[in-house]
């Protein structure tokens, strides 16, 4: 044994390392539990540096932005002083204020107006898996964040929390192939589907029947049926909708991540909203009476149990009425062919005559 280990020392170490990791994998697969301690160590080692880097980047970018803004303002002031146009200066100033409005402010406004209790979080990193769309935010269990919570922006759904540590959390992005959310069409609230990510590019909406009405440009919102995203949260906008083999093939652009991801909102306590175009639940719908046969009020109704007449049925009735009015027996060669150009009522020779006297024993109304 000793000889073997000395002779094949390299191979032995490799085997031990591989077997140890296979054992670790088997343990995790068998128990369905994560080896949390190792992850906590790794996250604890990396996140402080990520925070420092992010803080450094933020300060540097703010410095340069402020510097260039100041340069721009100085030049602008020179021009405006030369022009002596105070009004233009004010307008320019206001325009600049609007264009440089901080994204955090819009989040804050949305946070105040939203019924749900949300927590603002800052994105500080990604997952190391290049194929996964997982982001790291600077809020964790210390901030009441829990696994499974929804993550949104004012524009829409961003993802959901999949892993929580004391001060940071991992968010599974809406683009990730493992992401799914229950959505409903804003235009046709009866159209329900499941939003799924595909790694890159647009997301898809699955499980929508071909018979359902979905058009490019339609917007989908969260239906709330997945018990994660508050009902009414914008989800995506359809770009492609076509009939497929197993159902409609719908591709859409996710709404929440279109403007980049610097700050997000974690929904601590979600409150379901309404779907904008959906009618109230108990609204009565006014329906007209079914139309009667055209111009045949006094003619026989086909014995179809009240079914609507087709054009052919109406032609047959019209022909029979003309024949009856001109005393023609269809199928007999004894009577001449009727004049089909005359209308049925006008061609009735009896219509011009006075009504016959009632038979004895009867009463007229």
């Amino acid at each position: 044994m000793e000889f073997f280990l000395n002779r094949y020392r390299n191979l032995s170490v490799l085997l031990v390392a591989i077997l140890a990791q296979l054992g670790l994998l088997a343990y995790q697969s068998r128990t369905g539990q994560d080896v949390r301690l190792i992850r906590v160590w790794a996250v604890a080692a990396v996140t402080p540096m990520a925070r420092i880097l992010e803080a450094g980047r933020g300060s540097t970018s703010h410095f340069f932005r402020d510097y260039f803004v100041l340069l721009g303002v100085r030049e602008e002031n020179r021009r405006l002083k030369a022009e002596l146009d105070r009004k233009e200066l004010d307008n320019q100033y206001l325009r600049e204020q609007l264009s440089t409005a901080d994204r955090a402010k819009s989040l804050s406004i949305f946070q105040q107006s939203s019924k749900s209790t949300t927590l603002a979080a800052h994105v500080i990193g990604n997952s190391t898996d290049t194929e996964a769309h997982v982001i790291l935010v600077d809020r964790g269990s210390n901030d009441r964040v829990q696994k499974g919570m929804a993550v949104i922006t004012p524009e829409g759904i961003v993802g959901k929390v999949i892993n929580v540590f004391s001060s940071v959390s991992y968010i599974l992005s809406v683009e990730d192939p493992n992401f799914a959310a229950s959505v409903v069409s804003e235009k046709h609230p009866s159209v329900h589907g499941t939003l799924k990510g595909h790694g890159t590019g647009p997301v898809s909406i699955d499980y929508v029947q071909n018979e359902e009405m979905v058009d490019p440009g339609d917007r989908f919102v969260a239906s709330g049926e997945d018990l994660i995203f508050p009902r009414g949260t914008p989800a995506c906008q359809v770009t492609v909708a076509r009939d497929g083999r197993k159902g409609k093939e719908i591709y859409a652009i996710p709404s929440g991540i279109q403007n980049g991801l610097d700050d997000v909102l974690i929904v601590i306590e979600g409150v379901h909203g309404t779907i904008p175009n959906a009618p109230p639940a108990d609204q009565t719908v006014h329906l007209l009476e079914p139309p009667g046969p055209d111009g045949l009020a006094d003619t026989e109704v086909p014995a179809q149990g009240g079914a609507r007449l087709t054009d052919l049925d109406r032609d047959v009735q019209n022909t029979r009425a003309i024949g009856a009015a001109q005393h023609h027996t269809f199928g007999s060669k004894d009577s001449p062919a009727p004049n089909y150009n005359l209308p049925p009522t006008a061609s009735k020779p009896d219509d011009a005559k006075p009504a016959p006297s009632p038979a004895p024993g009867t009463q007229s109304p």
Partner: protein, 177 residues
């Protein structure tokens, strides 16, 4: 004409075993992982740059020892696994352990200071790593993932192109005696 024995070449190669201080050995892999965690947020296409893998290959080649390669690859891989919450621990670990072993093994038999050799090795090990990672995901986790050969080859070439200057920079961190 005198012939130099093979043992002489072997010993000469082993004499060129590079040494690094502990700060480099810990700090460089950590920086590589941090790069992967942080930088793709701003430059998305840099997410395909597998710096932890390149660092593993470099240290395994420089140390010229399969055992060091195994341990180094395992540590870097497990650290990478820890920051990838979607998969269980061990996926990157096993793939990088194998890369470290074979890189250490190759370094004992070839002259790995040459830029051309490094380019080829970086290309090969990137492809090997991606293939093995895909194999583990398909075989052990039963995930329906496809290995896109064309894309993998292009990315292997890009990583190899980055590896050559990166290895030159890392050469500067060697301890000279």
């Amino acid at each position: 004409m005198t012939e130099t024995p093979a043992a002489f070449h072997e010993s000469a190669r082993k004499d060129r075993v590079s040494k690094f201080n502990w700060i480099s050995l810990v700090g460089i892999p950590l920086a590589a992982i941090l790069f992967q965690v942080y930088v793709p947020r701003f430059v998305t296409y840099l997410s395909y740059l597998e710096l932890p893998l390149l660092v593993t290959v470099y240290f395994s080649l420089a140390r010229r020892s399969p055992i060091t390669g195994v341990l180094f690859g395992m540590c870097v891989g497990l650290a990478q696994d820890s920051l990838s919450p979607q998969h269980p621990l061990g996926m990157f670990g096993i793939a990088k352990t194998l890369v470290g072993y074979f890189a250490g093994y190759v370094s004992q038999r070839f002259e790995v200071e040459n830029s051309g050799v490094r380019l080829v090795l970086a290309f090969f090990f990137y492809f090997f790593h991606q293939f093995f990672y895909w194999f583990l995901r398909s075989a052990l986790l039963s995930e329906a993932v496809s290995l896109e050969l064309g894309q993998t080859i292009v990315l292997a070439a890009l990583n190899a192109a980055v590896a050559v200057p990166l290895f030159r920079v890392l050469d500067k961190l060697r301890i000279t005696e």
